[in-house]
Symmetry: C2
Subunit: 655 residues, 2 copies
């Protein structure tokens, strides 16, 4: 019976103005721009971020591949994982073809596949840094080499490109890489009992398994997860053999083992520690393998890390990573807003993790976090012109502080042209171009619609769901469902945790359904319309009072959008403003702001202390300070730093 | 006429219980303990502070001198300025003889002088690092070498030891050093047109001039001040000649020139930038030279830097240095409480600067800051047992944060046994043992009594001033003045800025004198008693609202003492407490606390939010949180971290 009812997603076509804006921006601006950068033909300033001081002005990423392929001579330039810039770009381009066929671009990407194939060694190995400049060190310093990370990124791109274009070579490169890794890693004699310092290969191999059905790739992914941290000395031992001081990335050896999630086996790790991107890539890999294998230990680790991140270590915008030192998590409830990291890649990775968890179990919390990342933490990484990027996404910034206090020098208050370590721009691009893959989860005869992104989706040949809305600005979500099979199936619609109230109509009639783990389930057996009215009231939010940095502060949210105050709208200093939990607020969509992109603006009644004179005594007996009533104007967090450089803060002082 | 009335300070004998406690502690605990450490016979854990990770467990400071003297063989160990630990200790010991004659210790120090003399080169040079391991690099890398800094510290010690004991050799070593420097530095051909990366020699040469009357030392001090920053390339050029990568202190070359106050001539430096200790040592040197030479440019720089530090860059406790990166000032009004530096040495140096400014002009502000350092910022550097020390003095600390957030790893929440870079312990010791020199300033026939430290002082042969009080716990300051000369003189008594109200009696009669620049002036021509009743009300203090980190926060002060809440008295987390500007407070002296040292305790009415449950949603709509009325118990800031390890904060949330 169940098999008869099994539904398969065939196609999703996004119709959301909000997202199509971004998706076209990626096609028209981001992809061409990034291609130029990677080919060193763009006139850009490559930003020196704190992890990347003093690097110079080219990417050399395509050149590295050409040298490895024998088409050019010279040395490798850039980070050992420089190749991944190309692969993530390729993956983003592959997804874009699904909504924006682009023969010119596809000529470029087809040629790129040829180039990559030609750069690949006979045994399937591909990491241009080692091929060009250090062939004797292949797999010899995995703590720093990023070799499996790099190949993992290609495998993801290769699978996506094959799925999008049918290009067999792109998949073949991926399987040859995976076979190379398989023949080099494992517990057999003559193999390396180890893993990469940067998780990624685990999720890539899972995707390759998903595509090819080849169980050895799944087994290898699982092997890496189970091997990790078993021998905490593994990296040190490799470093000693390779030459203790012979670092590929200076300074990395000094980071604690937990930075690499390699201090103990995953099953024994209680908290989400270390480099935030590594953690969420690892979690995504674990969720894939847990789903495909039913491994309880890995599933338990997914739950444990999810809970620790989401309940104790995540900013209200979905950003993660509380310190620049190691771009890492720190400790539970430590969420400083001005010295934080909040890397764009970490939010993108968190979206990956959430998506995989949704495939394991239908819990609204996963959809909530995915939505939070999409509309806030991840999206903030790109400017509205598609040409400038944040690596670090703070919740409180001040150009004077970034310039004047070295503990905040990693916090940029304007997006950069590019980065020497350019992981973020293409990572965000691939999330945006693949957004259609993030809207539905199907299990048996249950379709979960967990994101409010207008779209038209076809399931099998006969089920069509059209979702129309003006989300995130308006809360009425309209569904038209056509089921020409007339076989009942279940549609689960997520009720976001921020929507305290909502109104639910089926074929125009108000219906009360229970909310089960964040979803309402409706049996559908015929053409049906659904109207969900979400709660779009402006909400004044508070953090748990376990968070010292947010104590006595309030943040403003409407729907999934977290708001921020910018100096361009509110005269500095922003810390002088105070709001109350029941402050009067007005919401208005402004379609002229941000070059006509339009955003919903919130005004909130506040008071502002008069700034004291410069040079008067620093400390004095407390007396009441003069205050004025003012209105603050707030913009969506994702849209900050698109106008004049200035202060920004999400958390406002509570009066 | 004026010469006839000129008064000279002959002797000050401190009778204050509060301070004699510390002064005896230095004699009984600190000096013997530090001597053991420097001789590597103490069983201590040398703390790895963030500037000093991974150093091991000995000081080797005396051994370095023995090697240089030919009494031992081996290599130099420790920092290039390791010698200064010995010199500051020697200086502290020298001062202690004035109130605690100590023939056993003097045998040790006399022998130490012999050792130092024997380590000194024929030309007067003495810096054991260079003598032992890098003689070819003498004066070749002044950015990092600390050679003049090191010899400056000896010169200070040598002068003090000569003044205290009459030991001619100790002064001779100092003059030979100064002559060595004089023959090597200057704008003549064949001399080095440059200066040391760490100011200190300027103040040391001034002291040597003061002792010997030799104008060449004053001229040399002035030369270094005027030369500084003239050629901003100076250090870089030396580094290039010495071998660009051939660092003595790795990483120092990356610091900006402002770190060394070498980016531009002092006359052009508008703000107090760079390494805080360097700044205040430089300022002290400038104040000395300005006083002795009348140089207007240097005096203007003293005023400019003083104002910038005191009005914009100083914590309420007197601590300075807002960032651990470069142990430095950041920018005006940037005073983070939990990531700050607040080095003990910087507070000691600020006391030096204040003392010199008082000698230039009678302004109460200088006395206020000196007092603030004595009772708060500097004093906090030592435990009540005299055996544990703070390098960093935060205003907000949490052991969990120090362990868990690498941006706070420099903040210790317990004082350390010793430091690899051990500048602070002996620096504080020499301040405490020389405290008698900080109480009076004399100009012509005016005696300024600017500190409330019980003492008996003799001026010339016939004027005696006895000050008795129980300060800082009680505010009645009693003076008995005997003038057997019967020649009128003026006594200026400081009215602290924290004493809004006061009561002033002369020979029992209430008198109203105007307060002129922080002082009351009384003409004395006979035996007189004065009773000054200071305002010892508990004050709830606020910072200028230009200070973002203190906005919405209150600090508690009584007299000169700034108070702090500790977890041992107030259940954590401390950020959940709120107080109001008019909160009820009670003050009580508790003589059993802190091993019978006794401290004044403040109770303040507060509310405390109930801590939310772990693992509940991080963010939620703002509602009122349950609060309880509680009393907070506050202890003096200087006394924190003498009991159980735990949270501490000076700035409490304002309700």
């Amino acid at each position: 019976m169940e098999t008869a009812e099994k539904i398969e997603l065939k196609e999703v076509y996004i119709t959301s103005d909000f997202w199509n804006n971004y998706r076209e921006l990626v096609v028209k601006e981001v992809l061409p721009y990034q291609w130029q950068v990677m080919n060193d033909t763009a006139n850009v300033a490559i930003s020196a971020d704190p992890q990347n001081n003093g690097r110079d002005k080219n990417s050399h990423a395509v050149a590295n591949l050409k040298i490895a392929a024998g088409e050019m001579t010279g040395h490798h330039y850039g980070f050992p994982f420089q190749d991944t810039d190309v692969y993530k770009w390729l993956e983003a381009a592959a997804y874009s073809f699904s909504y924006h066929p682009n023969p010119d671009l596809q000529k470029i990407t087809d040629n790129l596949i040829e180039l990559i194939a030609s750069a690949q060694d006979d045994d399937g190995y591909l990491s241009t840094y080692f091929q060009i400049d250090a062939p004797e060190r292949k797999f010899k310093r995995l703590q720093q080499s990023h070799e499996l990370y790099t190949m993992g990124h290609y495998i993801e791109a290769g699978v996506a490109y094959y799925q999008s274009t049918g290009n067999e070579l792109s998949l073949e490169i991926a399987t040859r890489m995976a076979d190379c890794i398989d023949s080099n890693f494992g517990n057999d004699e003559n193999k390396i009992s180890g893993y990469d310092g940067h998780p990624e290969i685990e999720l890539a191999l899972s995707r390759l398994y998903e595509q090819t059905g080849q169980k050895k790739y799944l087994a290898l992914a699982k092997y890496f997860l189970k091997e990790r941290g078993k021998d905490p000395e593994f990296f040190d031992e490799q470093d000693r053999v390779d030459g203790w001081d012979n670092d590929i990335l200076p300074g990395m050896r000094d980071l604690p083992r937990s930075y690499y999630q390699a201090a103990e086996p995953i099953s024994e790790q209680k908290t989400a520690d270390g480099h935030a991107v590594r953690v969420v890539y690892l979690c995504t890999g674990m969720a894939y393998v847990a789903r495909f294998t039913g491994d309880e230990e890995l599933l338990a680790a997914c739950h444990r890390f999810w809970k620790d991140i989401v309940r104790r270590r995540m900013y209200i915008t979905g950003n993660i990573g509380s310190t620049t030192i190691g771009e890492a998590f720190t400790y539970d409830y430590d969420l400083p807003n001005d010295t934080m990291y909040g890397e764009t890649c970490a939010s993108v990775g968190m979206a990956f993790f959430a998506r995989q968890m949704l495939k394991i179990e239908p819990k609204g919390e996963y959809g909530d976090v995915l939505e939070k990342e999409l509309f806030n933490g991840a999206l903030s990484g790109m400017s509205l012109d598609g040409k400038h990027f944040f690596y670090v996404n703070p919740l409180e910034a001040d150009p004077i502080a970034s310039r004047g206090n070295p503990g905040k020098s990693h916090v940029l208050t304007h997006r950069a042209d590019w980065f020497g370590c350019a992981c973020c721009p293409a990572n965000l691009a691939r999330l945006i171009t693949s957004l259609d893959q993030y809207l539905y989860t199907i299990e048996g005869n249950v379709i979960l619609s967990h994101q409010f992104v207008s779209n038209e989706a076809t399931f099998g040949d006969e089920v069509k769901i059209a979702q129309t809305n003006n989300f995130p600005w308006d809360g009425n979500i309209h569904y038209e469902i056509k089921d020409e099979r007339h076989i009942p199936f279940t549609l689960g619609i997520r009720i976001p945790s921020w929507s305290t109230n909502f109104d639910f109509r089926e074929n125009g009639r108000k219906v009360r359904h229970p909310v089960v783990d964040g979803f309402i389930y409706i049996e559908i057996s015929d053409s049906t319309t659904i109207d969900l009215d979400l709660d779009m009231e402006v909400k004044v939010m508070k953090a748990s009072n376990r968070v010292a940095s947010d104590f006595g502060k309030l943040a403003i949210q409407r729907g999934p959008i977290v708001y921020a105050a910018e100096e361009v709208d509110n005269s500095a200093p922003l810390w002088l403003y105070k709001v109350t939990p029941n402050a009067e607020t007005t919401y208005k969509f402004n379609d002229s702001l941000f070059n006509g992109n339009g955003v919903g603006i919130i005004q909130i009644a506040a008071t502002k202390e008069t700034l004291e004179k410069d040079g008067t005594p620093l400390y004095r007996e407390a007396t009441t300070q003069e205050e004025n009533s003012v209105d603050m104007r707030l913009i969506p967090y994702y849209a900050w730093a698109n106008r004049e450089n200035g202060q920004m803060r999400v958390w406002l002082n509570e009066k």
